[in-house]
């Protein structure tokens, strides 16, 4: 346990600057565009300008969800950037130990503890980065709401709930689900995705050139199994199966892929990995 926590700590330590950079980019992009959008409209309203004169829509009352929708691109871009970086880092977290002047993987594989600890610590680190970004986005939304209220005079705005703001953009709605069940689905699928990526990387690292084919084949098979109820058309209204049965099949497919991927990853680390 102690060694596992130390490895997690080390992985977080190694990614800290990139994580901080993503947070800063998100903060600057979202707050900057929010301030610019709100001030433009508030200024137009204060001067009594019409929509035809300024060239953009001026609502009667401003709301926080309205402000988010109108800064959409700059609001979503840093979120998409963070998602892309974290997905890529799910691979780089392994490859960075193999390449460069220092091959840290030698040291990691020679630690006097079971090698699956290494796998689990890297997975934990990725999840920590994801939830850190989500937590940061939540705090940022609260801060942005306060910023909105500070800039827009009370007479020009209508109050809105926090949920309204986070529902208005589909990406935010997926990242910050309102129901716990939806949270489990979204993040459960995300975790399965990371596990499949880990196994694909370990296949490549174990079998090298041939491993690339194995990794592509394995990833495609995993996607195929998860999507199989839809590919086979089981979800159609005239299907033989009840929705609850299809749901159970999907759940079983996800569990199967998780278990196989983790077991295969552990086995590759223990028996097949090569430096």
């Amino acid at each position: 346990m102690n060694r596992y926590l130390k490895l997690v700590n080390m992985e977080i330590h190694r990614f800290r600057y990139i994580l901080a950079s993503l947070m800063v980019v998100t903060l600057l992009s979202q707050c900057g565009s929010l301030i610019w959008t709100i001030q433009r409209v508030v200024s137009a309203k204060e001067k009594g300008l019409t929509q035809a004169e300024v060239g953009f829509a001026i609502p009667k009352f401003l709301s926080f969800p309205w402000a988010i929708v109108n800064t959409k691109v700059w609001f979503i871009l840093p979120i998409l950037l963070s998602i892309t970086v974290l997905v890529l880092y799910s691979m780089i977290i392994w490859y960075r130990d193999w390449f460069g002047r220092s091959t840290f993987i030698y040291r990691l594989l020679m630690l006097p503890s079971a090698r699956w600890v290494l796998y689990v610590s890297k997975l934990t680190a990725i999840l920590t980065f994801v939830f850190s970004m989500i937590a940061f986005q939540l705090v940022l939304l609260v801060g942005e709401n306060m910023l909105f209220k500070t800039i827009v005079p009370a007479g020009m705005r209508t109050d809105s709930t926090f949920v309204e703001a986070s529902t208005i953009i589909p990406v935010l709605d997926t990242l910050l689900p309102k129901q716990f069940e939806q949270f489990i689905y979204s993040y459960g699928l995300g975790i399965i995705g990371v596990i499949v990526i880990f196994t694909a990387v370990l296949l490549e690292r174990s079998y090298r050139r041939l491993g690339i084919l194995y990794a592509i084949g394995y990833s495609a098979a995993c996607v195929g199994v998860i999507l199989s109820p839809f590919i086979l058309g089981l979800d159609r209204s005239n299907s033989y199966w009840y929705p609850s049965e299809i749901y159970t099949m999907e759940l079983a497919a996800c569990l199967l892929i998780s278990v196989i991927s983790v077991c295969l990853g552990f086995w590759l680390l223990r028996k097949k990995i090569t430096v």
């Binding site: 130390k6 190694r14 002047r101 220092s102 091959t103 594989l109 020679m110 630690l111 174990s206 430096v275």
Partner: protein, 229 residues
């Protein structure tokens, strides 16, 4: 005792190790000798469980390779194994955190002996200093065996002298040392056993002292006979 028994390994269709068998005893310095591509480094990596084998067996004090072995055997590769962003002190702390056999007093002595600056970043070390740092990380573990891959590779004459000096100290004396080297001149007087490899097979394994006294041949003489016919 490290036992390598009939080890086979293929890489990209080529037989890298083809039935390699030898032993390395505790308290002795065993040197794996061979031209480039003979399989020297692969053997060390296989002993440390860093590359899988097609067949054969490796045993250390009658036990198979496993996580517990890493407290018993240290490995000094021919390149850095500490992230370049870390400071030397952080690399040492990492070792201290993970290895029960870590000897901090010895690490400090070696830092002074090798004149290494603990605040320096690993990525800023020259090749010679990096080799000394790798050696420090290996020697500061209280292990029964230590494996070294080309400890003198690409290192200047003075650094080589300092590293060679380590081999005649009590840091090495009681341990089993298995090393590979091209710089046999620097090491010949220190080696107890020599294992000559060619095309992934052991061509000859002999006791250096016995060879000198009975046949009057140095390791280099025997190498000439084996490799040049």
């Amino acid at each position: 005792m490290i036992e390598v028994i009939d080890v086979h390994k293929r890489f990209r269709g080529r037989k890298v190790l083809n039935g390699v068998s030898f032993t390395a005893e505790k308290g002795q310095i065993t040197c794996l000798i061979g031209i480039n591509g003979a399989g020297k480094s692969t053997i060390l990596k296989a002993i440390m469980g860093l590359t899988p084998l097609k067949s054969g067996m490796i045993r250390i004090d009658d036990a198979p390779v496993g996580p517990a072995m890493y407290e018993k055997v240290a490995f000094v590769p021919d390149h850095l194994t500490t992230p370049t962003g870390m400071r030397l002190s952080e690399g040492i702390q990492f070792m201290k955190d993970f290895y029960r056999n870590w000897n901090d007093v010895r690490a400090n002595e070696l830092l002074a002996f090798f004149k290494l600056d603990r605040t320096e970043r690993v990525g800023n070390l020259s090749k010679g200093m990096a080799a000394k740092y790798s050696l420090l990380l290996g020697l500061s573990q209280d292990t029964d065996y230590i494996l070294m891959d080309e400890p003198f590779s690409g290192i200047d004459m003075f650094s080589r002298e300092i590293i060679a000096e380590v081999f005649s100290t009590d840091l090495i004396e009681d341990r089993g040392v298995l090393l590979t080297t091209h710089e046999i001149d620097d090491m010949e007087h220190l080696i107890d056993q020599a294992v000559l490899l060619q095309n992934g097979s052991v061509q000859l394994a002999f006791d250096c002292e016995e060879m000198r006294t009975t046949e009057g041949k140095s390791v280099i003489d025997v190498m000439r006979e084996v490799y040049t016919g």
